[in-house]
């Protein structure tokens, strides 16, 4: 889980009477079926964001809970959202927040050892998970509504009284070591890490990946202390959605919190911003892989102070126009549709919590076609800087973004989590309420202005991971110089000595070396 990028995937939409008015079209005497769909007329999609105030409740220790009923299925989702993450890792203890979260779930409780906790959950067919990211962690319970009481009991037993059993800590460390060993098996994973380092530097909180040495420095006592310091009601926002009676579940939560030993102290907030300045250019990591992974992009904006900035919305439209939809976006049409250079391509932009988010175009490509794909991308980005986008493109991008807004609020369980995360990160609910109006205010001129700033070629970072540039293809002469980056040892993340690629063979055969 990561909350690095704040994305517009918003809260609950309530449509009033849109269907009823559409029936007007079927009037007598009108042609039964219009000759072209452009002749269809639709009522406006009227939707109201749910009011957070109606869902929000205050519990013991000042804990906020958002509760939403949804009786479609006999299920309940409960989440405990917490202002806990890698930003709280003490010096020399990188990975502590993540390891604590993992052992919270798998280390048993003082009452139930790990196996008995799993058995109890399994007997209820309940799912219980704990995730941890850079700025936020969460514990999630999903169970049948008939089992909610027992499920909540297990969730709070785990949160308040974890055992961090020594054998489970050792087993998790072994598992993580094994997982680290396969890190270089996937070109996409290599790209993700290297991209992070290029944009944020290796010291930033979001870039400090686990290594064998970092893992060895984490001990059971560290987990116990970290839990006691951070996993406290003072840092929680709780959400409940599903087949529940709000009054009952709130009373149950309150009594569980009452039994909690104290409310704890709030953690320091906000995390430090990033200080790294990325170096623009074309980088590559050479690994034998049938398909090359490619990313093009740059740092974006931090959330703080920018959520209402009109350019933010222009950037969203621009991102959508660039490669938001594989079949109708600029890059999708050209690289996949017309030139067959890539199978898939997408673009994303995000706003970071207290550090800049990023803008990224990402595709997977035959290594021999990387150069052509990069040149085509460059030409399309230049067109976005030099020419205004069409009215149709603008309207289509806005439709897609509005669909993202309503889709994100489609189910009550999405709504309550969105509001809870707003509270934790200190973001205003007003963002969602004003989203469509701010989006509609964006015109082609604003998009072009955003493109000139965001897509400045002097600031773009390009990274290719794959059998490249050994198989660079004929157009490689038109590219800027390639700066090779070393592959890292999967366990230490230290640079490995450069190794020649096995010729131009794209698929590693039986005799190819595996690092």
């Amino acid at each position: 889980m990561t909350v690095r990028d704040r994305t517009a995937r918003p809260a609950a939409a309530v449509l009033a009477g849109a269907l009823a008015s559409a029936a007007a079209l079927a009037g007598v005497g009108e042609p039964a079926v219009p000759a072209h769909p452009a002749q269809l007329r639709f009522p406006a999609l009227a939707f109201n964001l749910p009011e957070p105030a109606g869902l929000r409740h205050l519990l013991r220790h000042g804990v906020v809970a958002y509760v939403a009923e949804d009786h479609t299925l006999p299920l309940v989702d409960v989440t405990v959202q917490a202002r806990i993450g890698a930003f709280l890792d003490p010096p020399g203890k990188d990975g502590l927040a993540a390891l604590t979260a993992s052992l919270l779930r798998h280390g048993g409780t003082r009452r139930l050892d790990a196996q008995r906790l799993d058995d109890a959950l399994e007997a209820l067919a309940a799912d219980l998970t704990v995730d941890s990211g850079d700025t936020r962690s969460s514990a999630t319970l999903n169970c049948l509504s008939a089992h909610l009481d027992e499920g909540l009991g297990l969730l709070f037993d785990m949160l308040a009284h974890p055992a961090f059993a020594a054998d489970r800590v050792a087993a998790e460390k072994r598992r993580l070591t094994a997982a680290m060993a396969t890190r270089n098996d996937s070109a996409a994973e290599i790209l993700d890490r290297q991209w992070q380092w290029l944009l944020y530097g290796e010291e930033h909180v979001s870039s400090r990946y686990l290594t064998g040495r970092r893992l060895a420095a984490l001990e059971r006592q560290d987990l116990i202390e970290f839990h006691a310091r951070t996993w406290q009601p003072a840092n929680f926002v709780i959400t409940v959605a599903g087949d529940v009676e709000p009054g009952k579940v709130l009373a149950r939560l309150d009594s569980l919190l009452a039994a909690w030993p104290g409310g704890g102290e709030p953690v320091p907030w906000p995390p430090a911003p990033a200080s790294h300045r990325p170096m623009a250019g074309l980088y590559s990591v050479s690994v034998p892989a049938a398909q090359a992974e490619v990313a093009i992009g740059r740092l974006g904006e931090a959330w703080d102070g920018h959520w209402s900035d009109p350019e933010r919305y222009a950037v969203e439209v621009l991102t959508e126009v660039a490669a938001g939809n594989l079949f109708i976006s600029r890059l999708g049409r050209r690289l996949r549709g017309r030139e067959g250079l890539v199978y898939g391509i997408e673009s994303t932009s995000g706003v970071g919590p207290t550090w800049p988010g990023s803008f990224q175009i990402r595709f997977t490509c035959d290594p021999a076609k990387v150069a052509s794909a990069l040149i085509a991308t460059d030409e399309e980005l230049r067109r976005l800087r030099d020419e205004p986008i069409g009215a149709d493109e603008l309207a289509t991008a806005k439709s897609a973004l509005v669909a993202g807004l309503t889709g994100g609020f489609a189910a009550p369980r999405d709504t309550v989590v969105t509001f809870a995360v707003d509270d934790l990160l200190g973001w205003p609910h007003e963002f969602w309420r004003g989203y469509r109006d701010r989006l509609q205010a964006v015109g082609a001129a604003e998009v072009r202005q955003a493109a000139r700033r965001l897509l400045n070629p002097e600031e773009m970072v390009t990274l290719v991971v794959g059998s490249w540039p050994a198989t660079a293809g004929e157009e490689s002469g038109r590219l800027p110089p390639v700066r090779p980056l070393p592959l890292r040892d999967p366990l230490s993340l230290e640079a490995l000595p450069a190794k020649p690629l096995p010729g131009a063979a794209p698929a590693p055969g039986p005799s190819s070396p595996r690092s």
């Binding site: 849109a18 769909p37 398909q291 199978y343 509005v402």
Partner: protein, 467 residues
């Protein structure tokens, strides 16, 4: 804005699919009715729970069926249709035709796509529709999209138009896209060998050929072949449409008549009568792969809706999961880092599959022997009531979880309808709840004989110390 994975019009191999059909009938969890005799219908499922699930159906005069499911999301409708035709129905010499046809169905009509080959995407995109996609499986081809609720009529317009008069443009371009799609599919260590293993398993059934088709057939298939396949198999009687959302039933019926009554009346096409003959001897495949050793064992079992398919599904449930028997026998012993069992119920036949990936330098043989040990216990000892209840609870809860997203629900209804009976979605939980310990032992003995299996051993080619 973060995107979901890019849209991929996919050929789905059966083993990649979630359980084929699910249900919402609210059987008493963990306290299922007494075991029904094989072939019998448990009393709790009789008359069905269609009321609980809320699926309403109606049929047009031309034979096309509509299913409507009420869901509270006011902003969008998940809409789709399925043709009960898949790779198993591909004409001889044109394997892959169903999948190619699926791709060609996005190329427009006499009205759409004349100037812009992507006009279908453009029109849906401008309306704010999302998840426009389609997939081809062995027995069915399904097309779906999520449309804003106020623009649902656009779906009726565009989908009836492409069923009335599609125009297949840019065949060569799509051939290239399909080639890339196959390469991606084959990019896992075992991927390139999957077609061969699958062909080894099926002797006579048309499931024998890959969904993508044999490469030589794909290269040779013409526009005329695709048109012929379309007219022969996308007949009104072979189509089912599904709509999931906050819907007005009367208005849906009105739109269905206005737009889809235009399709000519025609029944579903006949299917090849070929049945899989009994397998008389074990078959084995020895392969070398790049990466840790893997194992796949397949047994011929039963098709969709066969009474034993539910017992086999529960049997797979006993094996899977963090506390399942495979975890205890293979994962805990550190022999494997991944092991999964699955009953795959297709229209004409079915199979039970076990796949496992070895840990470290372990070879596949040890995994194979460990699996036979797991199997022997299932054949000899009755499953305890507690273990059975745990698995049935888990299967029911997972069923509900998969029905939460309207698009997931849509895809499951399309799949069940495409396989021939959407009612399975209503009855599934009842059927699973009715499986007894004795049923488990009976199917474990009936379908897992050595001569009924095909074993694929994938040895790690790059292992140190090996040639």
């Amino acid at each position: 804005m973060v995107k979901l994975s890019p849209r991929v019009r996919a050929a789905l191999a059966p083993t990649l699919l979630p359980a084929l059909a699910l249900s919402l009938c609210l059987a008493p969890l963990g306290a299922g009715p007494a075991a029904a005799a094989a072939g019998g219908r448990p009393a709790a499922c009789a008359g069905s729970s269609a009321l609980h699930f809320g699926t309403q159906s109606f049929r047009l005069a031309n034979g096309m069926t509509f299913l409507v499911v009420e869901r509270p999301d006011p902003a969008s409708v998940a809409a789709g249709w399925v043709a009960s035709v898949g790779s198993a129905d591909d004409p001889a010499g044109a394997t892959g035709a169903s999948h190619l046809l699926e791709h060609m169905m996005f190329k427009g009509t006499h009205t759409i796509g004349v100037q812009d080959p992507n006009e279908l995407d453009v029109l849906y995109g401008r309306a704010g529709a999302t998840s426009l996609n389609a997939f081809t499986k062995n027995d069915l081809t399904a097309y779906f999209v999520s449309v804003p609720a106020n623009e649902l009529e656009l779906w009726f317009w565009l989908e009836s138009d492409r069923l009335l008069a599609p125009v297949f443009r840019d065949l060569e371009g799509e051939r290239k896209v399909i080639k890339q799609e196959r390469q991606r599919d084959e990019s896992t260590p075992r991927g390139r060998l999957q077609s061969q293993f699958n062909a080894l398993f099926w002797q006579a059934q048309p499931y024998h050929a890959p969904i993508f088709g044999w490469p030589s057939d794909l290269a040779a298939t013409s526009i005329a072949d695709a048109e012929h396949h379309f007219h022969a198999s996308y007949t009104a009687g072979n189509l089912t449409a599904v709509l999931v959302g906050h819907l007005d039933r009367a208005r849906i019926e009105d739109l269905a008549h206005r737009y889809f009554d235009r399709l000519p009346a025609a029944p579903a096409p006949p299917r090849t009568p070929t049945a899989e003959p009994e397998q008389l001897a074990e078959t084995r495949m020895n392969a070398a792969i790049d990466g840790p050793a893997e194992l796949e064992i397949r047994y011929h079992s039963v098709p969709f809706r066969h009474p034993d398919s539910y017992a086999l599904e529960v049997l797979a449930g006993l094996l899977n999961g963090p506390n399942g028997r495979l975890a205890n026998a293979l994962l805990a012993a550190e022999r494997a880092d991944q092991a999964t069992a699955e009953q795959v119920s297709l229209r004409r036949a079915g199979f039970f599959s076990l796949t496992a990936r070895a840990r470290g330098d372990h070879g596949p043989e040890g995994l194979e022997q460990a699996w036979y040990g797991v199997l022997r216990r299932l054949q000899e000892e009755a499953v305890s009531p507690a273990e059975l209840e745990r698995v049935r609870n888990r299967l029911a809860a997972d069923t509900f979880r998969r029905l939460r997203e309207p698009l997931f629900l849509l895809v499951q209804l399309l799949t069940a309808a495409g396989l021939g009976d959407w009612h399975d979605l209503d009855e599934h939980t009842c059927r699973v709840a009715a499986v007894s310990a004795e049923d488990i032992r009976r199917v474990a003995r009936a379908y897992f004989e050595p001569r009924n299996r095909t074993v694929g051993l994938y040895r790690a080619a790059g292992e140190p110390g090996k040639p």
